[in-house]
Subunit: 136 residues, 4 copies
Amino acid sequence: MDFVETDVNVRYAETDQMGIVYYANYLVWFEVGRVAWSKARGFHYADMESKENRFMIVAEASCRYKSPAHFEDDIIVRTALGKATDRVIRYRYEILKKSTRQVLATGETAHVIIDRDFKPARLPKHYRGYFSLPSK
Amino acid sequence: MDFVETDVNVRYAETDQMGIVYYANYLVWFEVGRVAWSKARGFHYADMESKENRFMIVAEASCRYKSPAHFEDDIIVRTALGKATDRVIRYRYEILKKSTRQVLATGETAHVIIDRDFKPARLPKHYRGYFSLPSK
Amino acid sequence: MDFVETDVNVRYAETDQMGIVYYANYLVWFEVGRVAWSKARGFHYADMESKENRFMIVAEASCRYKSPAHFEDDIIVRTALGKATDRVIRYRYEILKKSTRQVLATGETAHVIIDRDFKPARLPKHYRGYFSLPSK
Amino acid sequence: MDFVETDVNVRYAETDQMGIVYYANYLVWFEVGRVAWSKARGFHYADMESKENRFMIVAEASCRYKSPAHFEDDIIVRTALGKATDRVIRYRYEILKKSTRQVLATGETAHVIIDRDFKPARLPKHYRGYFSLPSK
């Protein structure tokens, strides 16, 4: 599994009255992880939308929370490609506390490739390599 | 000043580690207020975007915070039209605690009418009445 | 399964540039559902924190997205208690489009009861009934 | 005016269906700017809360939006101290597009120093220097 790492510093906005990061924000960090993963693979997800008219709509998301994150914590978001076809892409994530590399959370998402009309579509051919798919 | 009132119940997601509603969320409530104001005037803002290709982009926003809001508080968002032309619309807001009608915050926003290409535009003619503008 | 229903109207803030509700916001709606479920059962979750010093920290969350939600959609959040002990509580959710009762998403969360020091704890005895647990 | 700069990369979560960053998120970026400003001055705001029991509650916030920010844009948040006493602190902000240094937005916030009971308080004496206040 080939994880790409990116850094996040916990924002006050991300905390809740329990004094920890609100649980939905981990899914935002997963998205930050996907963007970093794409850059590491050589493309910008923004271009896939604006130039290729292909969108990766989320079909499934899950997260297991092991230890809370706190305001001003330096966090590492680790993102790896899971099972991928040219129609469905899966990712895996690990959220780490940077200072100790303690795993705070793990998660997965699944995404379906769609076009601008929300119809199922395929990855553009020249994107297949980015997702470790054989060229056709 | 003709205020339209709508209710909001404070979400856990909206609190921060100070145990109160995070300050940026008042601007989200202002937006909830604008949607309620539009409905009270007889139109859906969603239709203005999807059917008229007119968008009200925010040009200015301000808020004065007088007393904090807490999780599960019942809140009233009061929204009134301020100065309006067919190019620039202003709103005023009051955020009240429902149980006591204590004013927790006040605010203003200004919006510029644009088209889908982000070029300055005018309100559709048949929307002028909604904004108390004389028909042309 | 005994679902409690509550209404949400989609906020502009909850949409993203795909023109649909951003995926993390469904977890916020789940939380809105839990608060409504608690009220229907006869207690305020806010009181459990402030008066009992018991917190329900999220341990797991998952969501399957079937059809997107859009700005100004009226949404029904359906929340049911899943497996519950006095240490771990599980919920199930269904997100419906109100006009058609189409299921837009389903999800689950698991919560661990902790005290103010984030140590594992038990539900207060007089809360057991709210969670369909036999009184001890 | 002594601006401290920090970088933000626009998250998908921060966009709305207009295809640009939702207006409330600029206030979140202001907060990211304040944290960076504090670090540059030599302290962590998190410590001020946890070690000194002093909180900077927001009393006023305003933003003027000049040009929209888009997904994946590299943004610079510039933060400067405005008028400060040991009871009320003001900041000024500029939001820039990194590639061109175009100013996308400007803003101000005012903060009141309070204690854990939300009573007005003063800056801890050894924090006065961080805010360019003469030591007493």
